[in-house]
Assembly symmetry: C2
Homo-oligomer: 568 residues x 2
């Protein structure tokens, strides 16, 4: 037997305090993160800095990705950066009939290691990923199109936070029952008591499939990946064909860590696919696959929920996010905040507002009454001002992730009156990057009074397209908000109002329709951003997603508790 390079005890000493702090943060919901979000925090302490991260990324381009796993029957690739660079990396293509049995075989020892060992090994994986945040940032940038600063933060420390949050939540759920044998003694009056010893073991469901997305491969992938791994399952990662690299790096790091800690590296593996292979569909129906995490289209998410009946299925699908604009005591702050929300990553976040509902008669503000047209024009101007400088615009917008987004943006002017036209932005570094400013269209809800189902704003238009919608009143806005959440789902809802009763009505709508609400954001927090350990991402209670990141329901059914009781 080979002595592992890392012992669980070392890892527990090293990461136990971080786990404890994560558990405490989840209880208090106050701000906390162990992962510095500033790029300059990396590199000084022996971790790879910006230059080393770039060099590590560059060294991968045009190569066969170094990942050895069972059942590799081919190598496949084809990622093209939204910044116009061919990555030219190939990844192992897996024969599921070989790989899945190997993954199953890896599970019993991982199960027997227990929740604490699994948690600290996961924390070691995250720590290693964290140390290489610059390399991951380039990988995320050149697959998602996020600008470097965002790819660094959202794809690095913030994704790692969400992964850690999942590990801690999973640990808390698995340790609700005692770790050591329980002596159960039931009095029987004058007779001897009944006595049993009882042991409880958290057992995994089976192989967990993570189906990654194009826009946030790590941020959206880590919660399910780490929740499943921490609860004893083996994890098969099927990345989006356009965003393989960030998850391939993740899988490689995890396999290395598991092996060094004395566990079978086949507890995690990559399932890269050939173009058009549709491997997610076949993997999702494999009997070995008992948990699925998916981020992507509503159509495939619904298909998974309906067909992958042997698995617990967690989906984040499409939604239509609304902001109700009723009144504000900080008009400039509101406009600036909304302009940033619409521009960040070209509106390609599942949390970006799409519909801005504004009363037709205008709104009260600290700068006086503003008509509907003024609000729309002022918002358009705020976006223009934010994105007036091309270099700054490119650093905020990033690039359009894929041709589908470009097509939707090009078609947008047909959906309403153009209040703000999209324009291409030259990228200072990547001339072939597809960078566009957001389009803002204005529509009147009255036009769709007789056929509301035809309203463009009642469908998701993913990408840099938003709709200012004129409504009769704030009360009508709340009704449209309710309908939108109920029928289309929403990851976020925003609202601006100075009136407590209006705030109450909007809150009530969000409580009843089950959507997360941000009220009166006028500073440096945006409706499309959530913080791990504090904010829930999605509610799991409307059609946009059947799960929230990261609550107990997200982890508690990834394992089962098996009890062995014995006559004492």
């Amino acid at each position: 037997m080979v002595t592992p390079a890392l012992t669980v005890r070392q890892l527990a000493d090293q990461h136990g305090p971080t786990l404890d702090k994560a558990l405490e943060a989840l209880r208090t919901r106050e701000y906390w993160s162990p992962h510095p979000e500033h790029p300059k925090a990396y590199g000084a302490d022996g971790t790879p800095g910006a230059a080393e991260g770039k060099a590590a990324f560059d060294a991968l381009l045009g190569t066969r990705f170094p990942l050895e796993q069972p059942g590799t029957d081919d190598w496949t690739g084809g990622e093209t950066s939204p910044y116009g660079v061919e990555l030219g990396i190939t990844y192992p293509h897996a024969d599921a009939d070989v790989l899945l049995p190997a993954m199953r075989d890896a599970m019993p020892a991982w199960r027997d290691a227990g929740p604490k060992a699994r948690a600290v090994v996961c924390l070691e994986i995250l720590a290693r990923i964290n140390a290489r945040s610059h390399e991951f940032a380039h990988a995320v940038m050149h697959t998602s199109g996020q600008a470097y600063p965002m790819a660094f933060q959202a794809g690095g420390p913030h994704a790692q936070d969400r992964g850690l949050e999942a590990v801690a939540t999973a640990y808390a759920e698995q340790t609700r029952t005692p770790a050591t044998a329980v002596r159960w003694t039931k009095p029987q009056g004058k007779r001897d008591p009944l006595e049993l010893t009882k042991e409880f073991t958290a057992v995994p469901r089976g192989v967990a499939l993570v189906i990654g997305c194009n826009t946030f491969p790590t941020w959206n992938g880590y919660p399910g990946l780490f929740a499943s791994l921490a609860t004893g399952n083996a994890v098969l990662v099927k990345p989006h064909p356009r965003a393989v690299l960030p998850l391939a790096l993740t899988v490689r790091t995890a396999r290395e860590t598991l092996a060094e800690a004395g566990f079978d590296p086949d507890l995690i593996a990559l399932a890269a696919e050939r173009e058009g292979e549709g491997v997610a569909r076949s993997l999702a129906l494999r009997p070995e696959v008992r948990v699925i995490d998916y981020t992507g289209s509503t159509a495939f998410g619904d298909w998974l929920e309906a067909n992958a009946r042997q698995a617990q299925v967690f989906t984040e699908k499409a939604g239509v996010n609304t902001v109700v604009v009723d009144s504000t005591d900080d008009y400039r702050g509101m406009l600036a905040n909304l302009a940033f929300s619409l521009s960040l990553y070209s509106g390609q976040m599942c949390t970006t507002p799409q519909n801005l509902l504004v009363p037709r008669d205008g709104i009260r503000t600290d700068a006086g009454h503003k008509s509907y047209d003024e609000v729309v024009a002022d918002l358009a101007a705020a976006v223009d001002a934010l994105l007036g400088d091309d270099a700054r615009a490119a650093a905020l917008l990033g690039a359009l992730v894929n041709p589908g987004v470009v097509e939707r943006l090009d078609a947008a002017p047909g959906l309403g009156e153009v209040a703000l036209a999209s324009r291409p932005v030259p990228h200072p570094e990547f001339p072939d990057a597809t960078v566009r400013t957001p389009a803002l269209l204005t529509l009147d809800a009255a036009r769709y009074a007789d056929a509301p189902q035809d309203a463009p704003y009642l469908s998701e238009c993913f990408g840099p397209v938003s709709f200012a919608v004129a409504v009769d009143s704030t009360a009508d806005a709340v009704e449209l908000l309710r309908r939108t959440v109920r029928e289309r789902g929403a990851m976020t809802v925003g609202a601006y109002t100075t009136d407590p009763e209006t705030a109450r009505l909007i809150e009530e709508a969000c409580l009843e329709e089950c959507a997360q609400l941000s009220l009166n954001l006028t500073g440096g927090v945006y409706v499309n951003q959530t913080a791990a350990f504090s904010d829930f991402h999605g509610s799991g209670g409307n059609p946009a997603a059947n799960a929230a990141l990261c609550d107990a329901a997200f982890v508690a059914n990834r394992f089962r508790m098996v009890e062995v009781r014995r006559q004492a």
Copy 2:
């Protein structure tokens, strides 16, 4: 506004300590119950005793059950006691189009009351049910066929324990996030920190449907009923047409308590059905219904899981429970324990062992080596001895719950060689009761080596029919155990062995196939009994049930957490 007769504060003072003790018991898994299980514990302290309970039950016979709820369009009934008595009680039949909207309207105030208020109101409901345990015992006895002592314990205090366990588990999950507003402050280096206030509200899914069963209307009904109510949902109770009364009493008690505490009684209602109406099927697909708890046949449970896609569906279906008999150091204790398990309530428990796997070459015991035939004969003799006295037999067996069980028992001799024949037992009090001793059949697994799917023991034969199955070895027994759990599901597994390595193999099989294991029970604890706050009922990880009573996964998805965050 009417001042409620009960205030939440009073209830919190009264029941808060019980809730705390329940939470502590769930953490330690040590023995605890606030509900005395001895019938004589009731009556002395002002609660109704045995005579009052009987009188209360008798007074209901032949009447229109006193329950006023919206949408009552008819009265329906038709319960016949397995002891031969027509109950003659009619119940309100509900127009769902009237009742369900009323139930939805009741929810917001219940949601706003918060987790603690909901918990203590639920505890008050349980306390009132507990005080009337004798009345409930008659109701359970004359619908399920359980003998009075069991109807009292399992239908009364033990069911109440499981209800309380669900309330406490639900409370724990809902209070993981802070109850008061959180101040979230994120440092920004030299700039002002980002500041938000955040509030978290547990919101209900919607109307929860509880579909009751014939054999354990309260024990199997209470966990889902109270878990849903405690998480803010309104609960519609659809009892089995043959076991309405125990749940009608429950609903009435809950409605009275809710109204007295100032809440809308329509938070809970009864949906009694006409014979053959199949109302569960139509209710399960209503859009208002977002949670379903079901105990019953695999066919309908599978249908619910596949079709009631708008709801969280928790099912307990059929399974095939196995006992592996390898060796014992207490042969008499083992035989007595098994004989009791097979006889209790005529084997009509979802937890009753069906298959006893015994090596063909016999087993080692403290009374010397016993051949297969000796083991089977000795077990048959143990059952005979246990049930030799008719009065004692009737008090243990109870009555057969419905004609389907009688038919299966009558057909059983065709399934194998009869090792112990069933016999009718005259009931000392109810001459028309259908009381039968269990049948034990012996079969050789070798006979089904080529067509294992045809083996009678691989199907559930619900009722007093068990199979002693001769297998090649204990290793073969473990393989058959694995196959049975994987393909048919199991609520329980039992095993007898003195060999640590064999125990380990059986444990490993149960961990991998996800089944709850009882080892070497030879005293007064039986494989078919579980204790709330300590034992899990089912695992939720094999085909017998998709949920376990009562873990976090059983409650955590009955509500969602909605966050409202505001610029501070």
